[in-house]
């Protein structure tokens, strides 16, 4: 919250800021996700750059008022280009003692705490594991505390509403939102519209929610407690049309757009699992685009049905998270052998086993690369931001169809549920996805299911139902070209090499790595997936300080881009932050014999950019890196 000038606006002070980080925290029943979502939409529409991070509790409904029941939503908005939802919040909205207990320690010193004082009875405190009332024992010292009994205020405001008291109380999140809208100079109109839509069938709910919001706004404007409002001017964004988007959503849009472009029916086989279920939900709403969704009996059936769909000429997709990936391994091997297109979406979560379903991690990379029996290479690509997931979903379809092989897409819980403004692409300019099914066979000729394209080595996609193409394929090793079962030594070697070469050939299809900063220097920070934002933010800061540091985010993990080796060799050190125990670092060390330094964090939370910053500073210091003011203005990309 870097303050600039104070401008007169209302009777109270109005201060311009260039960014703000707000965290909403409350019981999972308190509507924190909805509140955060409304603030986000409004703010996006007002032209700020914004990044969000919902942090769900493990339980759907943990006992009210307890620590495990706390749900949070952090958002950061700014008047400049941002890459992460921020580290420590400037403002914490705590709806009960439990939310206070869990989140207070992260509130920036001197930050604003908006505390709902409605439930601070001895029992409430006990549930939150407070021995004494934190409001009176000095716990809150050092923060700017604003205490409001949100329940009492909301009940007052809704005196004329037809809702019962319970229903009225449930509007308290909207009261809090109203306060924040005043504090941060937000427009209430988008929320009015959204709430009217959301509860279209229950006008009394619309009325109560909006009344509560407006009352909150008025309360902040009139009471003495609130002295200043803040304004964050719009960001300088690239011209174009924007839409705020969450990762799972944009991944789906990428797939549907690719399906349309390719002229293929999409078939999703899936089994519900957090945090991937929303992909199943959302694709189920695209029936008008010909998307077939199949909720299978388990993940094995899910991937198998997708393989069957691809075999018959649709594009098979399966979506899941880590435990489901483990179940799909054997079937993915079949798709590799049958050389069929298949897109496998793994929205990673904290493992192993059931792990922490609502928390994020990127520890399934080695599983994606190697987690199958035999030599079983597939293409592996990773989404790095909510908006990037669109391109990655699209690219996955393009690669799967062009090379006739499975593509694993890695996303994670952070990308899936996080959101950001997305500069909408021109649909006309999306890359073409040509699909050529094998034509009808001529009488007297025998169809060769493994005759290959000279350039890509892809085999023909032969749709059952096409005359003259009858043939047999399967998971057993087969002779190249004819596809007949074959156990000969030389043939097996040839087929193993060919399947590997097919994946390797994709490297020729990948654009050079985009770096932020020059392609040589002291430190290269590499990343993949959702660490991109934190890496970019820390790198830019260090560049500003004059360090010879650059960063790059890899979309393709298999195959790796052709220019990666040379890029890494252009730096004294390569640092690789990952939310795992150093999985990509291990691959790069093995493949390039470069001493890649792993910076690992596996705690279920995304990296904080200040942690990466601190680590990079240490690395730079160890190199005796000298600052060079000249490089500070290095262009990005």
């Amino acid at each position: 919250m870097q303050t600039s000038n104070t401008t007169a606006g209302t009777e109270k002070g109005l201060q311009d800021l260039d960014q703000i980080v707000i965290r909403f925290a409350g019981d999972s029943g308190d509507g924190m996700q909805l509140t955060g979502d409304q603030f986000t939409r409004t703010t996006a529409l007002m032209g700020n750059d914004i990044a969000t991070f919902p942090d769900f509790p493990a339980e759907i409904r943990a006992p009210a008022g307890t620590l495990p029941g706390v749900s949070a939503f952090q958002l950061r908005f700014s008047s400049f280009d941002i890459h992460t939802p921020g580290d420590a919040p400037d403002v914490l909205v705590a709806m009960n003692p439990a939310a206070l207990k869990v989140h207070l320690k992260e509130l920036r010193k001197d930050g604003i705490l908006l505390l709902n004082t409605a439930s601070f009875s001895a029992l409430d405190l006990k549930k939150a594991k407070y021995e004494k009332d934190p409001r009176t024992d000095g716990t809150l010292d050092g923060w700017r505390v604003i205490e409001v009994d949100l329940e009492a205020r909301t009940l007052e405001a809704l005196a004329t509403s037809k809702l019962d008291n319970r229903g009225k109380e449930r509007c308290k999140n909207m009261y809090a939102l109203g306060i924040l809208y005043w504090m941060f100079h937000r427009d209430m109109a988008p929320t009015e519209k959204a709430i009217a839509q959301k509860f279209a069938k229950k006008p009394e709910l619309v009325e109560a929610n909006l009344m509560a919001m407006k009352a909150g706004f008025a309360y902040a404007e009139t009471t003495e407690i609130f002295q200043t409002a803040y304004r964050v001017p719009p960001a300088q964004m690239k011209p174009g049309t924007y839409r705020n988007i969450m990762g799972n959503q944009s991944l789906c849009l990428g797939l549907v757009a690719a399906g349309q472009k390719a002229g293929l029916q999409l078939f999703l086989g899936s089994y519900p699992i957090t945090p991937a279920s929303d992909i199943l939900h959302q694709l189920s709403t695209y029936k008008h685009h010909g998307v077939v969704t199949f909720q299978a009996e388990d993940e094995i059936a899910a991937v198998c049905s997708a393989i069957g769909a691809s075999y018959s000429g649709s594009l098979g997709i399966t979506s899941t998270s880590g435990p489901g990936m483990a179940l799909k391994a054997e079937a993915i091997g079949l798709a590799v052998m049958a050389e069929l297109p298949l897109v496998i979406l793994n929205v990673q979560r904290a493992g192993p086993s059931t792990g922490m379903p609502t928390k994020t991690q990127q520890a399934d990379l080695l599983q994606a690369m190697y987690g199958r029996n035999g030599e079983c290479p597939v293409a592996v690509i990773a989404a790095s931001t909510p908006a990037d997931a669109f391109e990655v979903g699209y690219e996955a379809v393009r690669i799967a169809v062009k090379y006739m092989l499975p593509v694993i897409v890695l996303s994670d819980g952070y990308i899936a549920n996080g959101s950001e403004p997305w500069l909408l692409p021109d649909p006309e300019k999306l890359p073409a996805i040509p699909v050529k099914f094998a034509p009808e066979g001529q009488p007297g000729t025998k169809f060769m299911p493994y005759a290959r394209d000279a350039q890509t080595l892809a085999r023909p996609w032969a749709k059952p139902g096409t005359k003259g193409l009858v043939h047999r394929i399967g998971g057993i090793e087969k002779a190249d070209v004819t596809g007949n079962i074959c156990y000969e030594a030389d043939n097996h070697q040839h087929m193993v090499d060919t399947r590997a070469q097919k994946v390797a050939n994709i490297a020729a299809d990948i654009p050079p790595i985009e770096t932020i900063g020059p392609r040589t220097g002291d430190v290269l920070v590499l990343g993949w997936g959702s660490t991109r934002g934190a890496i970019t933010a820390s790198t830019l800061r260090l560049q500003k300080d004059g360090h010879k540091i650059s960063c790059a985010c890899l979309r393709f993990l298999n195959p790796l881009p052709n220019d990666l080796g040379d890029l890494m060799r252009g730096f004294k050190k390569v640092v690789l932050p990952e939310m795992n125990k150093g999985q990509l670092a291990m691959i790069l060390r093995a493949k390039y014999l470069i001493d890649v330094v792993s910076f690992s964090q596996v705690n279920g939370q995304p990296f904080k950019s200040h942690d990466i910053h601190a680590f990079l500073q240490k690395t730079l210091a160890s190199l005796g890196s000298t600052r060079d003011a000249g490089s500070a203005k290095e262009t990005r990309r």
Binding site: P190, Y242, F294, S312, G313, G465, V470, R472, G474, G475
Partner: protein, 338 residues
């Protein structure tokens, strides 16, 4: 001149044979099944390219290589799931699943019951030899208790279950049984399965002469057949014996009883289309030792297919809403930055 579409010459059994050498053990019951399937297919009036055969893993699952149709030899137990994807994405295809008692009842049990439950238009041929053939002779979920195999040297402790009863429980709409050595009956049963719209199961008793030889000898040998086999015939009483002088009725507790002589007219009249599964269940679970072994159709009920329902939703949605990629992407709250 307008081209007159010539309907292709009807196919023969031979047309369905492939150039691949059949690799089952000499004397294996799978040969007779292959013969019956080819015979049946020749009668179905389809063209080669309209049919897909999906199999799992096992001796039985080698089947597709010997049929001149589209064939997909997949992984152990998963054929119904893969076939569900094939059929759902292209309902016009004629999709068959070939599987074994281990493949379908053990590792693939889950997919099997859910295919039955959904009523996907698949025809499932389950070769039941009551043994794991390909892995050289371990007991299977249909092996009798006490079976001595390499993995059960003191006899298996497991109880077997009846695939027919399982399918009845799973809501199957066509459930039948045939036997490898009863070629014409099997061929006929396969044709009936093919005519059924929803999921059709044909359990085929198959002799594995290497690891479970004679498993069905007790009721299939020429000398005992007539007395030991009960042919289920729609609309006819349940009669068996060389002179059809024995019958099956059900007592007040739905226990099957053998009736003879003057009681013969109390024999239960078989209705394969009955809504009540109880009679079929009673036949499927009656003791093989005490009662004759039923073959033929246990159940045949019409019910809308899964894939038809799915595609109907798609068709309806498509006609209701047309959306370009642009409209798809530029949806919700969007804003312009200039």
């Amino acid at each position: 001149m307008t081209a007159v579409p010539t309907s292709p010459a009807p196919l023969t059994k031979k047309d369905y044979k492939t150039d691949q050498e059949v690799r089952w053990c000499p004397g294996c019951g799978d040969y007779s099944i292959l013969n019956a399937v080819q015979g049946a297919f020749a009668k179905l009036g389809k063209q080669l390219h309209e049919t897909v055969i999906v199999s799992g893993i096992g001796c039985s699952s080698r089947f597709p290589y010997y049929m001149e149709t589209f064939g997909f030899h997949t992984i152990h137990g998963r054929a119904p799931a893969i076939a569900t994807g094939v059929k759902t994405s292209n309902p016009a295809l004629d999709v068959w699943v070939v599987t074994g008692d281990g493949d379908a009842m053990s590792i693939g049990g889950n997919h099997f019951i859910h295919a039955m439950r959904r009523n996907v238009g698949l025809k499932i041929l389950m070769f039941n030899n009551r043994i794991y053939g390909l892995t050289k002779g371990q007991f299977s979920p249909t092996s009798e208790q006490g079976k001595v195999t390499k993995s059960s040297p003191l006899g298996s402790v497991d109880y077997p279950f009846s695939p027919i009863a399982l399918s009845l429980g799973a809501g199957g709409t066509f459930i039948a049984r045939g036997i490898d050595v009863f070629g014409p009956h099997l061929e006929d049963t396969i044709c009936k399965a093919s005519a059924h719209k929803g999921t059709a199961l044909v359990e085929i008793y198959q002799n594995c002469n290497i690891f479970n030889d004679g498993a069905y000898k007790g009721f299939t040998e020429k000398e005992v057949r007539d007395e030991r086999i009960l042919y289920l015939e729609h609309g006819k009483p349940l009669l068996f014996g060389a002179n059809k002088d024995k019958g099956i009725r059900f007592d007040a507790n739905f226990q099957p009883q053998i009736v003879t002589g003057a009681d013969l007219d109390k024999a239960f009249v078989w209705d394969e289309t009955a809504a009540n599964v109880a009679p079929a269940m009673a036949l499927a679970t009656m003791s093989e030792g005490e009662f004759p072994v039923p073959v033929g159709v246990f159940r045949r009920r019409e019910k809308p297919n899964f894939e038809t329902g799915i595609q109907a939703q798609i068709t309806a949605a498509k006609s209701k809403k047309k959306e370009s990629i642009r409209d798809l992407l530029f949806a919700g709250e969007i804003w312009d930055v200039s």
